[in-house]
């Protein structure tokens, strides 16, 4: 039997995507941070030789506002308008003997130059000192953030209102360029992000809400770099899965948003309903299960058959059956993810 989308969903018998209970994980859009590593950045207002933090400020209702927040009375900025200049004072030559082998993740060889934004404040302040944070959250917004544990061995297993910054892409001046973020001290070395072994979900930094942190950021090449970050947190918000435009129902307008965001790293408004930062068939399944226009469902299924090869459709149906069984225990018409 040919497994059409209609038959798949009829088999699954889904009527509503529901889930318990205590948190809604939310993602942000991807923010591109532009770094001029010993190089100009045409089209941007440069930020140089100051203490500045990239804050993805959580807003009440479940969105983030990306800002560059300076310390010391200088003007604030945004990733869209400002670049971060890693000037020549940040340049270090790898000694001929090289760094200790534990620093191989940086991707530099003896004799090569790297540019390092230090984890410790420079004195004098002759170079950029850059951090990641989530400060300036309003009291109302703070009430929506819940404590959770990222379950990452690099962090103490403490539940806090963490904000996660996940590396999504790095565009270096050349294909040989490598980027990393790490902390060292007291004989301990923690690598948070490193492109030398590719980019994956483990390339992430967590910062407590209301705080900011500093890291060693290493760049192996001179030139303009673009670093893509996506931000995550967990909230106590309740939302109807699939309601991308938050107008209280799930209809073709929401489907249009999901279709536009499909396959990309993005947020709820473009279809990331399960909070993994990517719009996938899992998000489509959630939307379809809550879809409130029965007469229009053929449009969804037609789209589905264009993106899923036939053999995969049967597997998808099986996955949906499992999803439905797990979620039927719950009653609230919202989707939340632990």
């Amino acid at each position: 039997m040919r497994a059409t989308a209609s038959t798949i969903f009829a088999i699954a018998g889904l009527t509503a995507a529901t889930a318990s209970a205590d948190s809604l994980r939310l993602s942000s859009p991807v923010y591109t941070l532009t770094f001029g590593v010993d190089a100009p950045t045409p089209g941007f207002d440069p930020i140089d030789a100051e203490h500045i933090d990239f804050n993805a400020v959580y807003q009440s209702g479940g969105t983030f506002v990306p800002t560059y927040e300076p310390i010391g009375g200088l003007p604030a900025g945004t990733p869209a308008n400002n670049s971060l200049i890693v000037n020549g004072n940040s340049q270090i030559n790898v000694p001929s003997g090289g760094f200790p082998s534990s620093f191989d993740f940086i991707g530099a060889t003896p004799g090569e130059s790297i540019w390092l934004i230090p984890q410790a404040a420079p004195s004098p302040f002759d170079r950029l000192w850059f951090g990641l944070g989530n400060e300036e959250v309003s009291p109302e917004a703070r009430q929506e953030l819940i404590s959770w544990s990222p379950n990452d061995p690099r962090l103490s297993p403490i539940e806090l209102p963490w904000i996660e910054f996940r590396l999504r892409d790095v565009r270096a001046p050349s294909s040989a360029g490598q980027f990393s973020a790490y902390q060292s001290g007291g004989g301990n070395l923690t690598t948070w992000m490193a492109t030398t072994d590719g980019i994956g979900d483990e390339d992430a930094i967590w910062v407590q809400e209301g705080a900011h942190g500093h890291y060693n950021f290493a760049f192996t090449e001179q030139g303009v770099w673009e670093i893509d970050l996506q931000v995550f947190t967990e909230t106590n918000l309740e939302r109807l899965a699939g309601d991308a435009d938050l107008d209280g129902d799930v209809d073709l307008a929401d489907f249009g948003r999901l279709r536009a965001g499909f396959g990309t790293f993005t947020d709820w408004s473009q279809g990331d309903f399960d909070g993994d930062g990517t719009v996938t068939l899992a998000d489509f399944g959630l939307l379809r299960a809550n879809f409130g226009q029965p007469g229009q469902i053929a449009a969804l299924d037609a789209w589905y058959t264009t993106v899923v090869p036939e053999p995969s459709a049967a597997a998808f149906a099986a996955g949906f059956l499992l999803l439905a069984r797990r979620r039927r225990r719950d009653t609230a018409p919202v989707f939340r993810r632990h």
């Binding site: 100051e50 203490h51 300076p70 310390i71 010391g72 009375g73 200088l74 760094f99 200790p100 534990s102 620093f103 390092l116 230090p118 984890q119 410790a120 404040a121 420079p122 004195s123 004098p124 302040f125 000192w129 703070r142 819940i146 404590s147 103490s156 403490i158 539940e159 806090l160 209102p161 902390q183 060292s184 001290g185 007291g186 004989g187 301990n188 070395l189 923690t190 407590q208 809400e209 209301g210 705080a211 942190g213 500093h214 060693n216």
Partner: protein
Amino acid sequence: MHKSTITAAAVVALSASTAFGQAFLDAGHFDLEIETEIEGNVVEEVKFAIKNKDFPASPFLEEYEPDEAFLVPTSFRTQSGALGGIADGASVFFVPEVQDPATLWLGLASDDTPLGVLENDQYEVELVGFTGPAGGTFVASQDDGFGGNTIFIDTSDGIANDSILIAPVGDNHYEYAFDTLGKYELTFRASATTTSAFGGSPISATGTYTFFVPEPATAGLFGIAAMVGLRRRR
């Protein structure tokens, strides 16, 4: 030999609270803060404080006077290689340079001093007084990013020339390491010269901070208390 007048058990019982009018700061982000009070183009006062950088999301108060709190290192390691006057193989109790929310994270800062007030935008922070348990050494150091470190303060050879330069806009973090259990009193003097726009005058302040280094087993209980405290915040 100096002996702490407060037992470890008493310390645990009073963790994240106050005793004898003093708080035990064993977890969270605090700064040894140099506060520069400015009115117009005049620096009216400089003083030391302890600033809670996690406030209001913290069980502790927003700010303490230096003598209102014990600073409690709860991290422990066996030293690998010498760290200044702390010998290879020694027991080291420390406040880490890198944040771990389960422990105290202590900066040295003057965040609210605008740029342009101090010449070279710098405070010099000197250790001018030190008492501790017999044989006890205090070392303040900073990692160089590649496994080495820079030592700024090392009391094993006295306290002459033990100083740190900090920029106002920097939230500067160091590892504060101790090699002996007990109570340490560290007196710092911050000094600078204001720029001509602010009178071109020397300014300074002195403050004494107390570190209480508990036994490692007790430190573990401090950690538990800290975690409970953190969880209670929400």
